[in-house]
């Protein structure tokens, strides 16, 4: 068997998080060193993965790994990357590495982004989050995708609520967490509907997304279930009008968390919306493309206006503008199949 690179990339941050939590709390620099070492290794591995994919024939899913977990329910740990997820894995590697560096936090008072308060816990949660993000990008099993999705969202609450900006951190963290979990629950209902319908159509109990692509979902089914699945995930992509958790979260979050938030976490939403919503329910996507384009178009203008309003204190509002492009691109993509 080949080197299980995707599992290593995904579980390495979690492993590092576990190690860091076992280290003494006053050994701050050693903790940071472990964090940097793990982040560098992950960066190297994801870079290597990217190169391998580029140098290969660049078709279909590659580096596939599969391990049984709950075979009776058709839940398997199945990893694989394609042309969409490979760059995102590399992106996560880069953001993770730079995120560790920006949070390094020596005694210099000018380094505002540095984390000096409990770096051990901070890095552990950050890495748990990173592991979840990697997991979503490489999962080919719908159940595992949800599993990692929740892992990625949850540490965000702690990171913002503990290390965030004192004035709004509790409000922001709570708003973010509730919002994202509601979104993912809505999407989960859709995923279970797909799971069950596939069982009825083919007699196979499986969460494998590659199999689900050929499960023969009827046009009506797709029409009904596309919106919950897509929008449920797209909440994390900050789609208008379900975006308001995001500016608040950005304002409150520490710098490295903001980087993760904007750099990869929000990509996670758009990615999952594309992977599950558009790829498994393509007919539904075509039917609903008009609505998504309206949302995207509104978001662009709306976000731009908010970004240039006078006396703005929250400079992060400008990021709203960008949220629009992911889902907007999805809309355009399928408007012309």
């Amino acid at each position: 068997m080949n080197f299980p690179i995707l599992s290593v990339i995904t579980f390495l941050p979690m492993f590092a998080a576990a190690i860091m939590l076992m280290m003494p709390a006053n050994r701050k620099n050693e903790t940071r060193a472990v964090a940097l070492a793990a982040a560098s290794l992950d960066l190297l591995l994801s870079g290597w993965l990217y190169l391998q994919y580029l140098l290969g024939d660049m078709t279909g899913y590659q580096f596939i790994e599969q391990y049984n977990w709950l075979p009776a329910l058709g839940i398997n740990l199945k990893f694989g990357v394609d042309g969409m997820s490979t760059p995102l894995v590399l992106l996560t590697g880069i953001v993770m590495f730079t995120g560790v560096l920006i949070s390094w936090g020596d005694e210099d008072p000018h380094v505002k982004a540095g984390i000096q308060d409990r770096p051990r816990e901070f890095f552990a949660f950050l890495f748990l989050l990173a592991g979840g993000v990697f997991g979503v990008f490489v999962s080919l099993d719908l159940f595992m995708l949800f599993f990692f999705y929740e892992i990625a969202v949850f540490p965000m609450y702690l990171l913002i609520a503990i290390w965030g900006w004192v004035k709004t951190r509790e409000y922001a963290a709570m708003k973010l967490t509730l919002y994202l979990f509601i979104g993912s629950v809505v999407a989960l209902v859709g995923a279970l509907a797909m799971y069950w319908t596939q069982y009825q159509n083919t007699g196979v109990l499986s969460f494998d997304m590659i199999q689900m692509e050929s499960a023969g979902f009827s046009a009506t089914f797709q029409y009904i279930w596309f919106l919950p699945v897509f929008l449920g995930f797209a909440v994390l992509g900050g789609i208008w009008p379900f975006h308001n958790w995001s500016p608040d979260g950005h304002v409150a979050a520490p710098t490295a968390v903001s980087m993760f938030h904007a750099g990869v976490l929000m990509k996670l939403g758009a990615f999952a919306a594309l992977r599950v919503g558009v790829m498994l329910l393509p007919e539904g996507a075509k039917q609903w493309a008009w609505l998504l384009m309206i949302f995207a178009a509104v978001a662009v203008v709306y976000g731009a206006f908010i970004a240039f309003r006078p006396n703005r204190h929250e400079i992060h509002d400008r990021l709203l503008v960008r949220f629009a492009y992911g889902p907007g691109g999805a809309g355009r993509f399928h408007a012309q199949p």
């Binding site: 708003k175 919002y179 009008p241 308001n244 709306y302 206006f305 908010i306 240039f308 309003r309 006078p310 006396n311």
Partner: protein, 717 residues
């Protein structure tokens, strides 16, 4: 050199500056010497490549049919690819020539302008212009001298990136990479206008420039998208084929009754209106003078604003398909030419005069294109780049000399850019004076010797010859005003006697600043001689009209040279000499703004365009953003709904608790069961008395009752 070698060389022309940018930003920014060495070497390499390419281009026979062109696949778009590529045809070779020269000269000039070799300032901060340094000489006297720019390396990094953008734009063979270069320049323009970001005026000017040009850019992008959706390609050589042009001309666009070509042309032209500061998007260019003077010379005179015109010239085969669009182009150009010239007459800041002059001259080129005078527009583009870069650098040199005077007297209230504080500088700064004079005369179209005369005359001749009388009259009047305000500027700045102590102590600038002036003034004179019309009296035909042949061959249909007519020639002689003479007569004795009869408040305040735009666009947009979108929609409606969720959920919870959980579930099942047990226990307690007799009586009673019952049931059953 083979055709193939030169084609490959073209790919490398834009690269050195971007490498220099990376090197300076990442490695050499601590060392000022290394930074400017890297930047200037890169500019020199690009210049060298451009000269080799240009030399080879003019040697090739029938160059237009066999340009230096190659392209590679870049982005997959389904079945096809978006390509990037290079194309050097006669037009881009011509443009490349002046871009390479002006860029190199301005890079060199920047060394002197930013006071290289001077000590660091006493109180200088990053983000503010240098304030001067105190030095003590051998005799113990203290002097205040110019101090070096604190962000010296950063400046060279930015202008290198800018040069990359401009060269990319010129060599690209498709409108997509042209647009990429266009946007890089827009960014650099923003960064460099706001270079002294410690000044609020500079910050505002940077934002204004960026926002205003963005408006044009968005329309241009729409035009590009429309072009792509109609033709399926963005490459110039594929678009400018007869078949595709015919399609573009015949497909209706559905807007204003224009053909697809007309609408695409109009959208692309709006991009140019923004970038080249044409009416009504001209407002940003005068404010852009907040940037350092080399930036004004390079970006806001010679290259970026010229790139706007270059884009229209490039797309001329499409734009010229629809006469309606051409009419719009011609009138906007002519109107801008006159309108900006009138404002320039009443400005006192030496750079603002030049800024309005630039807007006006770009209007000349746009108007020329609008009347199909393709070659004349290109010709004026090139000559203008040379003499306007020269004038800006000259004005920078003057300001520098004046700053020297300001530091000498120590009176910092004197504005070194106000022309009324100058006067008599011809003796103090002879090189600057003579080169400025050449540039000014070229701008005014001083007959025969200057390049500006030949190019402007050609535009006027074309307008007259093709019967565009209104355009001709407008441009002629604008040319008259041009000569007038140029002479006003020269008179106020250099002639007469010094009006202030500071002007008295002005000083000639170092060689790094004067050498570029000399080189550029060489071109400001000689470049006109390559385009002398064949039928010109006496001189025509002595030197072949190389420019017309070369540039004209870019078009599929070679433009005919216009018949010679004495009227436009007489007109251009009269307006140039008349304007210059009148300017000198009026201003030779004017010593203060109060004596200047032409300072109408309407002109002084630029027809109140800034104020009007502020009321119509800026304030409402802010109001909309703040009150409607943010406060009402985002915070009110969307967050309002969200915040309603919390209390609603809580309310539902309380209701369930208070009206169902507590009264029913608790009452009957929870507390109820306990209460019942307790009640039963309490009521059974009286029989637990502990007296044997009572227990026996109870037992007997129970025995009888139960026994009776059992007997009764048994006997009955």
């Amino acid at each position: 050199m083979t055709h193939e070698f030169v084609t490959n060389l073209v790919w490398f022309i834009p690269l050195p500056p971007v490498i220099a940018f990376a090197l300076i930003v990442l490695f050499t920014n601590k060392s000022k010497v290394l930074s400017h060495t890297v930047a200037i070497s890169a500019a020199f390499l690009s210049w060298l490549g451009a000269m080799i390419v240009f030399w080879n281009a003019i040697k090739v026979e029938h160059f237009a049919e066999e340009p230096f062109a190659s392209s590679i696949n870049w982005l997959p778009t389904g079945d096809t690819w978006l390509k990037i590529g290079v194309l050097i045809d006669p037009l881009s070779a011509t443009v490349l020539f002046f871009v390479a020269w002006t860029v190199l000269m301005i890079f060199l000039y920047s060394v002197g302008y930013h006071n290289f070799g001077q000590p660091a300032g006493d109180h200088d901060h990053a983000g503010l212009p240098p304030h001067g340094a105190t030095v003590t000489d051998d005799l113990g006297h203290k002097h205040t001298v110019l101090s070096i720019e604190p962000m010296y390396s950063r400046f060279f990094a930015f202008i290198s990136l800018f040069a990359f953008g401009m060269l990319t734009l010129v060599v690209s063979d498709n409108i997509l990479t042209l647009f990429v270069g266009w946007e890089i320049m827009g960014l650099c323009s923003y960064l460099l206008i706001g270079f002294w970001y410690g000044k609020e005026s500079a910050r505002n000017a940077a934002i204004k420039a960026f926002m205003t040009t963005r408006i044009g850019d968005v329309f241009m992008l729409l035009g590009i998208a429309f072009l792509y959706s109609v033709t399926g390609t963005l490459s110039f050589r594929e678009i400018f084929t007869e078949e595709i042009l015919h399609t573009l001309a015949s497909v209706p666009s559905g807007v204003f009754g224009l053909s697809a070509a007309g609408l695409i042309g109009l959208l692309l032209f709006i991009g140019t209106v923004g970038k080249s500061a044409q009416f009504p998007l001209h407002v940003w260019l005068p404010d852009a003078m907040e940037g350092p003077t080399p930036v004004s010379a390079m970006i806001h005179a010679a290259t970026m604003v010229s790139a706007g015109v270059y884009a229209v010239i490039r797309m001329f085969p499409i734009i010229s398909l629809d006469e309606k669009t051409m009419t719009v182009v011609a009138f906007i150009g002519a109107f801008t030419a006159l309108f900006a010239a009138t404002i320039a007459v009443a400005q006192n800041d030496i750079k603002r005069v030049l800024a309005y002059s630039t807007i006006s001259q770009l209007g000349f080129m746009i108007a020329a294109l609008g009347i199909h005078a393709y070659v004349a527009a290109v010709f004026h583009l090139v000559t203008h780049a040379f003499f306007k870069a020269l004038l800006f650098l000259g004005s920078g040199s003057v300001i520098h000399g004046m700053e020297h005077g300001v530091l000498h007297t120590g009176n910092h209230k004197v504005d070194p850019q106000d022309m009324f504080n100058m006067g008599g500088l011809r003796k103090k700064m002879p090189i600057t004076f003579w080169t400025f004079l050449i540039g000014g005369f070229a701008l005014s179209g001083f007959p025969i010797v200057t390049a500006g005369f030949w190019s402007k005359d050609e535009i006027l001749a074309d307008a007259f010859g093709h019967g565009h009388t209104l355009i001709f009259a407008t441009l002629a009047f604008a040319a008259f005003l041009t000569a007038f305000y140029t002479m006003r500027q020269i008179t106020l700045t250099f002639l007469g006697e010094p009006r202030t102590q500071e002007a008295e102590h002005a000083h000639e600038t170092p060689w790094t600043m004067t050498a570029p002036l000399v080189v550029l003034s060489f071109f400001a004179v000689t470049y006109g001689w390559v385009g002398i019309p064949e039928h010109f009296p006496l001189l025509g035909g002595l030197v072949p009209n190389w420019f017309h042949e070369f540039v004209g061959s870019t078009l599929a249909e070679h433009p005919e040279a216009v018949e010679f007519s004495p009227w436009p020639l007489i007109t251009s002689l009269v307006v140039a000499l008349g304007g210059l003479g009148l300017g000198w007569l009026v201003y030779r004795n004017v010593n203060s703004p109060a004596e200047d009869k032409l300072q109408f408040s309407l002109l002084k305040n630029k027809y109140y365009f800034d104020e009007i735009y502020d009321v119509i666009f800026v304030k409402p947009a802010y109001w909309l953003a703040e009150n409607v979108i943010y406060k009402f929609m985002d915070q009110g409606v969307i967050d309002g709904i969200l915040h309603a969720f919390g209390p609603t959920t809580g309310g539902i919870g309380s209701a369930i608790r208070n009206y169902f959980d507590v009264p029913f579930i608790n009452q009957f099942i929870g507390d109820g069961s306990a209460d019942a047990t307790y009640w039963i226990g309490k009521n059974l307690r009286p029989i637990q008395t502990g007296r044997i007799q009572q227990y026996l009586i109870l037992s007997l009673i129970l025995l009888f009752v139960v026994g009776g019952l059992v007997y009764y049931i048994l006997t009955l059953a």
